[in-house]
C-alpha cells in the first residue's frame, strides 16, 4: 500500500503553498513535493502598458519585499532609457537607491528573525504552539519583541524617506530617482532619539547575531545536521568579488566552492539560466543551462551569498563573515539552518551600509535622473532579501511593454526547498505509518529556514499551521492530524 501525505500550510483553505509526501509500500518516503498554488499571470497582463508603470506596478506582487521589485524593475528600465546598467546613474541616484535597498533588506531580515524564527529558538521547535509565535515573544520576552519591532520600524523609515512610502513607494524612476535626502531627513535617521538611529541599529544587529551564536553553541547538533545537502550556490557579486546586494555580476560556485559561473553580465541572463515547468506547482524550477536540470539547480539567498562572495565590504560584518567561513574551513556551507546565521550577518552588513550611506554628502545632490538613447530591451537584477531577483522587459516604439519575464528569489530556491522537505520527511517518516508532531514541526522549520516569500511566488507572516493527511491508494484517509 502506498500512502500520500498532504501538508497544507494555513489549512486546506488558506495557504498558497502545500506539501505532499508520497510513501511507498514499505512505509518509506518515495517523494515529496512543495506545491505553490498561487498564479497571477503578470507576464501577460502587463503587456501593452507603458513601461514607466513597471516599478510601481510590479512591486504589488509582493508587499514583503516591494522595494526589491521596485528597484529591479527600475534597473531594467535604466537600460531601456539609455542610462546604462547599474553604474550609469548619477551618484545621488545610485546611492539613494542603495539606501532604500539596504533599508529593505534590514527590515525584511529583522522581520524574519524576530517575528518568525525567534519563537522557535525561544520556545523550542516543539514548544507550545499557543505561545510559539510573535505574540508569545511579546508576552514572555518583551525586550526582544521591542527590539524586533523598533528595528523593523527603522528599516521602514529608511524606506519611507527614500521611496516616499513604507510599502509600495515611488522613489525609483527609469534613469534615477525622484527625490534626494534632505539634511533633516538624514539627521532623523542618523541622530534620531534612541533607539531609532543608525548607531543603535548596528549595536542591536550585533546583539541579534550574538543571540544566535549562543543558541548555536547549545544546539549545534540540530543546526548543523538538519536538512544538510550539497548544492550549487548563486548570487550577484561586485566585480572584485565583494558582497554587493544592489549591483554586480552573476557568479555561481559548486558544493566544493569551485566557480561554475564566472562573473558574467546579467543582461545575458537568459543564456545561462533556464526554468523547468512541473505540472504540480505554479512555481518554476530554474537551473544553470550548462549543467542541466539534474545538476544545474542552485541555492540563493543569505547562505548562498556568503558562499559566493570573497569578502564583505563593511568591517563588522566582515569579521562575522570570517568566523562563518572558518566554521566550514573556507568551504561552502551547505547546512540549511545556517541560513539564519548568514541572514544575521547580512542584517549587520545592511545596518553598517545604511550608516555609511547616511554620512555621504552625495545624497543631498540635485542631479537625479540620467537619460540616453532608448533601447528596446532591459534586464535588471539585484539581490533581494531572499535571493537573486531577475526582471526582464521589452518595449515597442509606442513605449508599451511587449514582454515581461520575472524570476523571483523564492523561485530560485524552489528545488532546494523541495529537497529540504524531502530530507526532513525521510528523517522523520521512514518506517512510520503515523504522522508525528515532530515531523510536522520539522517540515515547518525546514521550509522556514529559506524564508520563502510565497507571496511573490505566500509567505505567512507567522507560522504555517499545517494540516497533514495520509491517504492510501484507494483515496481513503487513514490518518489525519493538524497542529
Amino acid at each position: 500500500m502506498s500512502n500520500k501525505i498532504t501538508i497544507e500550510p494555513v489549512t486546506r483553505v488558506e495557504g498558497h503553498g502545500k506539501v505532499t509526501i508520497y510513501m511507498d509500500d514499505q512505509n518509506n518516503v518515495r517523494d515529496s513535493r512543495l506545491h505553490i498554488v498561487e498564479f497571477r499571470g503578470f507576464e501577460r497582463f502587463v503587456q501593452g502598458r507603458p513601461y514607466w508603470e513597471m516599478p510601481v506596478l510590479v512591486q504589488r506582487l509582493c508587499g514583503i519585499c516591494p522595494v526589491s521589485h521596485h528597484l529591479a524593475a527600475a534597473k531594467a528600465l535604466d537600460v531601456i532609457v539609455g542610462a546604462g546598467t547599474g553604474d550609469g546613474l548619477t551618484p545621488v541616484g545610485e546611492k539613494m537607491r542603495r539606501l532604500m535597498h539596504y533599508g529593505q533588506v534590514f527590515q525584511s531580515h529583522v522581520l524574519h528573525f524576530f517575528h518568525l524564527s525567534s519563537p522557535d529558538f525561544l520556545f523550542g521547535i516543539d514548544g507550545d504552539p499557543a505561545i510559539r509565535n510573535i505574540i508569545g515573544v511579546a508576552m514572555h520576552h518583551k525586550d526582544l519583541a521591542v527590539q524586533g519591532v523598533m528595528m523593523r520600524k527603522f528599516g521602514q523609515e529608511v524606506i519611507r524617506l527614500t521611496a516616499g512610502k513604507k510599502i509600495h513607494g515611488t522613489g525609483a524612476i527609469p534613469g534615477g530617482i525622484n527625490k534626494n535626502l534632505t539634511i533633516e531627513e538624514r539627521d532623523e535617521l542618523l541622530k534620531g532619539p534612541d533607539p531609532l538611529n543608525a548607531d543603535k541599529m548596528v549595536d542591536w544587529s550585533i546583539a541579534a547575531l550574538d543571540f544566535f551564536k549562543d543558541y548555536h553553541k547549545s544546539h549545534a547538533k540540530m543546526l548543523d545536521e538538519f536538512a544538510v545537502f550539497p548544492s550549487n550556490h548563486f548570487s550577484i557579486v561586485r566585480k572584485d568579488g565583494a558582497m554587493d546586494l544592489y549591483h554586480g555580476v552573476l557568479r555561481a560556485v559548486d558544493a566544493d566552492g569551485k566557480k561554475i559561473l564566472h562573473d558574467v553580465d546579467y543582461q545575458e541572463y537568459d543564456s545561462y539560466i533556464e526554468e523547468e515547468v512541473k505540472n504540480w506547482s505554479y512555481m518554476k524550477f530554474p537551473y544553470l543551462k550548462e549543467y542541466g536540470k539534474e545538476k544545474g539547480w542552485y541555492r540563493v539567498g543569505p547562505l548562498a551569498r556568503l558562499n559566493t562572495c570573497d569578502f564583505i565590504p563593511s568591517p563588522l560584518a566582515q569579521k562575522a563573515f570570517e568566523e562563518f567561513k572558518a566554521y566550514t574551513n573556507g568551504k561552502p556551507n551547505n547546512m540549511s539552518l545556517h541560513y539564519h546565521w548568514a541572514r544575521l550577518i547580512e542584517t549587520l552588513h545592511s545596518a553598517e551600509m545604511i550608516r555609511e550611506l547616511l554620512n555621504d554628502p552625495d545624497l543631498q545632490k540635485d542631479d537625479l535622473v540620467v537619460k540616453g538613447k532608448k533601447l528596446q530591451k532591459g534586464v535588471g537584477v539585484l539581490e533581494a532579501p531572499r535571493g537573486t531577483l531577475f526582471h526582464h522587459y521589452e518595449i515597442n516604439d509606442n513605449d508599451q511593454i511587449t514582454l515581461a519575464n520575472l524570476i523571483v528569489s523564492t523561485t530560485n530556491n524552489n528545488e532546494p526547498m523541495n529537497l529540504a522537505v524531502n530530507h526532513t520527511a525521510k528523517a522523520f517518516m521512514n518506517g512510520h505509518t503515523e504522522i508525528s508532531e515532530g515531523m510536522m514541526n520539522a517540515v515547518e522549520v525546514a521550509i522556514r529556514a529559506y524564508d520563502p516569500c510565497l507571496s511573490c511566488a505566500t509567505h505567512a507572516l507567522g507560522k504555517m499551521p499545517l494540516e497533514f493527511t495520509v491517504i492510501n491508494q484507494d483515496n481513503k484517509i487513514i490518518d489525519q492530524k493538524s497542529k
Binding site: 506545491h35 498554488v37 498564479f39 497582463f45 514583503i64 509565535n133 510599502i167 523547468e276 507567522g462
Partner: protein, 200 residues
C-alpha cells in the same frame, strides 16, 4: 507617538479595562501581504494591540481553524481561485464583522488586471512562451489535482460575500488600520483625518 495617538491610547486603555477582549482574525487571499505588513507598521502600538485583543486564525499565529466566533475578520486580497472563495466564505461564517482591507480586497487590485484576458493566454505566456522556459518541449502546464482551480476573473470580496467595512489604500495607511480597529474595539466613532484616508 503624536498627541492625537496618545490621546486615543489613553481613552482606549480606560475603556478596555471595563470590557472583554475582542477577537480578531486575518487572512490573505489574492493579495501581496502588503496590507498585513501595513498592520505591522503600527509599530510599537502592536504591543498595545496584543494586550487589547486576542488573535484567532491569522498568519501571525498558529491557529489554523477558527476556535470560536470572532468579532472582527480582516481580509486582504480578492478572489482569484477556488480556494480564495472557500476561505472567504469560511471567514464570513465565523466573523461578526468583516473588513475588506486594501484595494485588492475592495476592487481586485493589481491581480484583476488579468480580467478581460483569457486565463489560457496568461498561462501560455508564463509557462510556454517566456524567454527562459526554452526546454518546455512537452508543453507542461500546472494542472495537478493539488492545485486549486483558477477563476476566469479576479473578484472583489463583496461580490462573493457581504462585507461590512472597506478600508482603502494600497496598502491602507497603518494609522487608518489602527484608528479603524480602535473604533471597532471601543464602539466609538472612527477618527479619520484626511492624511490617513488619502493614498496614491
Amino acid at each position: 507617538m503624536t498627541k492625537s495617538q496618545s490621546a486615543v491610547k489613553l481613552k482606549l486603555t480606560r475603556k478596555i479595562k471595563t470590557m472583554n477582549k475582542k477577537v480578531i482574525a486575518t487572512t490573505s487571499l489574492a493579495g501581496c501581504f502588503g496590507c498585513h505588513m501595513s498592520i505591522l507598521d503600527i509599530d510599537e502600538r502592536i504591543l498595545d494591540l496584543i494586550e487589547l485583543v486576542e488573535f484567532n486564525k491569522s498568519p501571525i499565529d498558529d491557529i489554523k481553524k477558527f476556535t470560536k466566533q470572532v468579532d472582527i475578520g480582516i481580509i486582504e486580497g480578492g478572489c482569484c481561485n477556488s480556494e480564495n472563495v472557500e476561505v472567504l466564505k469560511y471567514f464570513r461564517e465565523n466573523c461578526n464583522i468583516l473588513i475588506s482591507l486594501g484595494e485588492c480586497a475592495i476592487m481586485g487590485g493589481l491581480p484583476a488586471l488579468r480580467n478581460g484576458i483569457p486565463i489560457e493566454e496568461c498561462l501560455k505566456e508564463a509557462y510556454l512562451d517566456g524567454p527562459t522556459v526554452g526546454l518546455n518541449k512537452e508543453k507542461i502546464l500546472p494542472n495537478d489535482d493539488e492545485l486549486p482551480m483558477l477563476l476566469d476573473n479576479v473578484f472583489p470580496c463583496h461580490e462573493v460575500v457581504k462585507i461590512d467595512y472597506f478600508l482603502p489604500g494600497c496598502p491602507p495607511h497603518a494609522d487608518l488600520i489602527w484608528n479603524a480597529l480602535v473604533a471597532l474595539i471601543t464602539g466609538n466613532e472612527m477618527d479619520l483625518p484626511y492624511e490617513v484616508v488619502k493614498f496614491d
